[in-house]
Symmetry: C2
Subunit: 394 residues, 2 copies
């Protein structure tokens, strides 16, 4: 379209609009393509980790919404790649822009500052959205152990073995002794409680707010000394020899790390051990990735050393801090393969967009662990210190 | 003394002074005795950890100057005990007042906030006061290895063995490979550099500001690929495979934890390992114990998890955090016995007050470690993460 002095106001406006559109589309495409190129990723290239764009709106959607746009456009089938985990790994390890920006979800950050997103009532949201999806699909994805946290691969060949080793590692780290009373904050499908009772002769009281998980866990632990409370971890009462929180900390939010530490401290006897198992961050944030927040773990958040360190002060002696983040990469890849293999069963019920969402969740997380961008921590703390010292277990 | 209406002003003044003196002396005696009793410590009692007071001014001196008064009155011979380590252990584990107060050295705290006590020029002070005391006395106290940091007792029977195991533990944790270039920040008498070069075939560049230590270290490492710089750790240049800071962090002060991390980061190649070995605190402080500050480690300070965690962010992935504080209890007791056995050699040169000062230093620190009040950390960090993960070594 050519602009002349005799053009009508409507013509001029239309011309402006068209130019603006073209500039911003080209600008976004240029900027986003550069970001990918910087990480060794080509659009329409031939490597496993390259991107095949099916819809040109892809660039604008990422440019405007970053991680949310990247994930959503994948869910909508606007782009594909052969190895999503490798693509994400490359983005995190090679590209400075992507690395530093951390998909700056400023609105999410402000929201997180203004309200306690993990108040007892709001904490229910993740229980409904995520954990109450249906136990069958989780069983098919997670395997026999129904363990929905990082497995321990040091000496294991299969996922089930690695999960059993993880549970045993936790029991050994807590120095479980026959007859001890254990408090578990957030218990998933009861896997740890069952394992600890059957293998170490302890009693377990557990707290969980997901109805489907609690029902499943109660059935699974019938007849053995396990009590599952359908209640918030902050409602825990009593005095215990040891306390475990396995995969709970990711859900409590940074405003409640102190509450979690205080509950564990209040419920522990002197010199008792508190084991915290959590995905974690290399730096302190007060918000989560917006795509994960919207689709996978509403109100979730990953703690930093500083954040845990400051809430531990005056309560615990830190005895041991173990990082085996790369084991989560392998665990997630196993989950993905299980999920993918069983997908035909769920295809009709959940639909294609769910499949792509779930695949994006598992593979992008695997890539982030592989890039060492996020970590898996087991922190052993003790109330007033273990006299004579605590010996690390691996 | 009786006060009558016809008393002279001088008489009245003298009377007031005497009453005030008596009240405050009794008040202090009552308060301090209660504190000791609360920890199961009797004044003039018969247990090993009880206190025999030789000078009644003892109570007032503690009441007014807390830890400084406690240590100084011991140096002056105002009180004694059979087992100083046990006494301190009891104070830390049983007595709430002593435990919480942390000998509140408010002036020290303000001073620490106002000035950088460990600027390059001020950092020299500890080098002169402490490390330049004379190598002979240290050799007699520390044994053949000349290691002035915590030994590792897991599999050791003697101090020399435990120190060699500590050095080997550090080398194994750093995954030292033949031909690698290692930077050591603060190198003591060169023990680690010598051990690493001789046992792992690496090259070491080290930085230290104590003249006597540097001279000794240079002699000890003549003919092997070790370069000792008489310079501040902040002057380190170049790129290295691995970086170690063994017993330096206690001297740098909380304002310089970030500088220490940045030096290590700047001098490391990608994926390189930084090992930090340090005495540490259960909580964040910006000052040190005033007695230790005055007599033993001028301008020293113990880091907390929060303080190290926040200075690590954006620079390192935390790979492993090992706490073996109770090993320092045993190390200090060995040092004390060595020091005590060799004392006749030094008696004339240093005098009785030095003996009591040094004994108080070693035994009270042993008690604090035994009480789990302070810790010994080895933190392994990596630049951008070790690809595939870091396996903990113990």
């Amino acid at each position: 379209m050519e602009l002349r002095s005799q053009s009508t106001p409507e013509q001029i406006q239309r011309a402006h609009h068209s130019i603006k559109n073209r500039i911003s589309k080209d600008f976004a495409k240029d900027k986003i393509s550069r970001m990918f190129n910087g990480a060794g990723i080509s659009v329409q290239g031939k490597n496993k980790w390259d991107i095949r764009v099916h819809d040109e709106r892809f660039y604008n959607r990422i440019f405007l919404k970053w991680s949310l746009g990247f994930g959503e456009s994948y869910m909508d089938g606007w782009w594909d790649t052969e190895a999503l985990d490798q693509l994400i790994h490359r983005l995190y390890t090679s590209n400075t822009a992507y690395k530093k920006s951390n998909f700056p979800a400023k609105l999410d950050m402000y929201k997180a500052r203004l309200i306690n997103q993990q108040s007892k009532i709001r904490a229910q949201k993740v229980a409904h959205v995520h954990y109450d999806l249906g136990n069958e699909m989780y069983a098919d994805m997670l395997g026999d152990t129904m363990q929905y946290t990082c497995a321990y691969w040091k000496q294991a060949q299969t996922l089930d073995e690695a999960q059993a080793h993880k549970l045993d590692l936790i029991c050994r780290k807590m120095h479980l002794q026959k007859g001890e009373k254990i408090l578990e904050l957030g218990c998933g499908w009861g896997g740890f409680a069952k394992f600890a009772v059957e293998n170490y002769g302890v009693e377990v009281d557990a707290y969980n707010i997901s109805k489907q998980q609690v029902e499943y866990a109660r059935k699974r632990t019938r007849g053995i000394p396990v009590t599952i409370h359908l209640a918030d971890y902050r409602d825990a009462q009593g005095t215990y020899d040891k306390v475990a929180a396995i995969g709970l900390c990711e859900h409590v939010g940074y405003k409640n790390y102190a509450a979690l530490m205080e509950v564990a401290h209040r419920c522990l006897k002197k010199h008792g051990i508190f084991l915290l198992h959590s995905i974690a961050n290399n730096f302190s944030t007060t918000h989560s990735d917006p795509w994960f927040n919207k689709y996978i773990f509403p109100n979730g958040m990953l703690p930093s050393i500083k954040q845990l360190g400051e809430t531990m002060e005056g309560l615990f002696v830190m005895e041991d801090w173990h990082n085996f983040g790369p084991d989560y990469d392998r665990t997630l890849m196993e989950w993905y393969h299980n999920f993918d293999r069983h997908w035909p069963i769920y295809q009709e019920k959940y639909g294609e967009r769910f499949y792509r969402m779930w695949k994006y969740y598992l593979l992008s997380l695997a890539g982030a662990f592989r890039a060492r961008r996020i970590q898996l921590w087991q922190v052993v703390m003790s109330k007033d210190g273990v006299p004579g010292g605590y010996e690390s277990v691996r």
